[in-house]
C-alpha cells in the first residue's frame, strides 16, 4: 500500500478538526481512529467532504462516497492520495 505523505495526513487532520464537529480534539486522534466514534455525524461528514475537496482541489466521485472512506484520518488520506494519483 502506498505511503501517504505526512503533509496530506496533517492537512486532513486540520480539515477534520474544523468541520467534523468531533467531541474530542482531532489533534489527539490516532490516524486510524474512528471519526464516527469520535462524534462525527453523517451531516458533518458532508461538510468534511466538501472542505477536503476545496483544500485538495479534488472531487470525490460517487464510488468513493461511502462510510468507510470517511471512517478515519488514515482512510481519508488514502482516498486523497488515490485521487491525486489518478489526476496526475
Amino acid at each position: 500500500m502506498e505511503t501517504v505523505p505526512n503533509a496530506v495526513t496533517e492537512a486532513v487532520r486540520e480539515v477534520v478538526a474544523e468541520h467534523a464537529r468531533l467531541s474530542v480534539d482531532a489533534a489527539t486522534l490516532a490516524d486510524e481512529a474512528s471519526l464516527y466514534d469520535a462524534g462525527m455525524t453523517s451531516h458533518a461528514s458532508v461538510n468534511v467532504m466538501l472542505a477536503l475537496e476545496d483544500r485538495f482541489d479534488v472531487e470525490f466521485p460517487d464510488e468513493l462516497l461511502k462510510r468507510e472512506v470517511f471512517e478515519s484520518i488514515a482512510s481519508i488520506s488514502g482516498a486523497i492520495a488515490q485521487l491525486d494519483a489518478e489526476a496526475a
Binding site: R21, T41, S42, H43, A44, V46, N47, M49, L50, A51, D54, D62, E63, L64, L65, K66, R67, E68
Partner: protein, 139 residues
C-alpha cells in the same frame, strides 16, 4: 403466520450544520446532496429553508439505514424526498439506491419528517415484498 417483514431507519440532523454548509459551500453543497426538486420544495420566499433541508437529509440517512447500505457507495441524490400533491412526503430511489432496494426485495417505502428548531428528524419504513425474505424462519 407472521406479519409483513419490515425494515426501519431514523436519523436526527442539526439545522445548524446545514446552515454552516450553505454559508460555506452554497450551491455546491445543494448540488451534491439534494435534487433540484428537493431544493425547490425547500424554497421559502426565494431563500432555501435550512430546517427543511435538514429534514430531507435526515430522510436520506434514514433510508440508507432501512436499505442497510453498509459499505456500498450511495450518492445522497440517489434518495429523493418530494412533497406529493396532497402535501405528504414521498421517497424515491434512483441508481445505486434503487439497485440495493431491489436486491433486498424491498417493495414499498414510507417516510415521515419532523422538525423543531434546531433539530430535524425522519423515519423511513421499508416493506420487504412478499416471498422475498423470511424473518426468523417459519412461524
Amino acid at each position: 403466520m407472521g406479519g409483513v417483514p419490515l425494515r426501519v431507519g431514523t436519523d436526527l440532523v442539526l439545522a445548524t450544520s446545514v446552515r454552516e454548509s450553505l454559508a460555506t459551500h452554497g450551491e455546491r453543497y445543494l448540488e451534491r446532496v439534494y435534487t433540484s426538486g428537493e431544493v425547490a420544495d425547500c424554497r421559502r420566499g426565494g431563500e432555501v429553508d435550512a430546517l427543511a433541508l435538514a429534514a430531507r437529509f435526515a430522510a436520506k440517512e434514514a433510508a440508507m439505514k432501512a436499505l442497510r447500505v453498509g459499505g456500498a457507495a450511495v450518492p445522497w441524490t440517489a434518495i429523493e424526498v418530494r412533497r406529493s400533491a396532497d402535501g405528504h412526503p414521498e421517497l424515491s430511489l434512483h441508481g445505486r439506491a434503487a439497485e440495493l432496494a431491489e436486491a433486498a426485495g424491498i417493495g414499498e417505502l414510507a417516510v415521515s419528517l419532523t422538525h423543531e428548531e434546531p433539530y430535524a428528524s425522519a423515519v423511513v419504513v421499508a416493506e420487504i415484498a412478499p416471498h422475498q425474505e423470511r424473518v426468523g424462519g417459519r412461524r
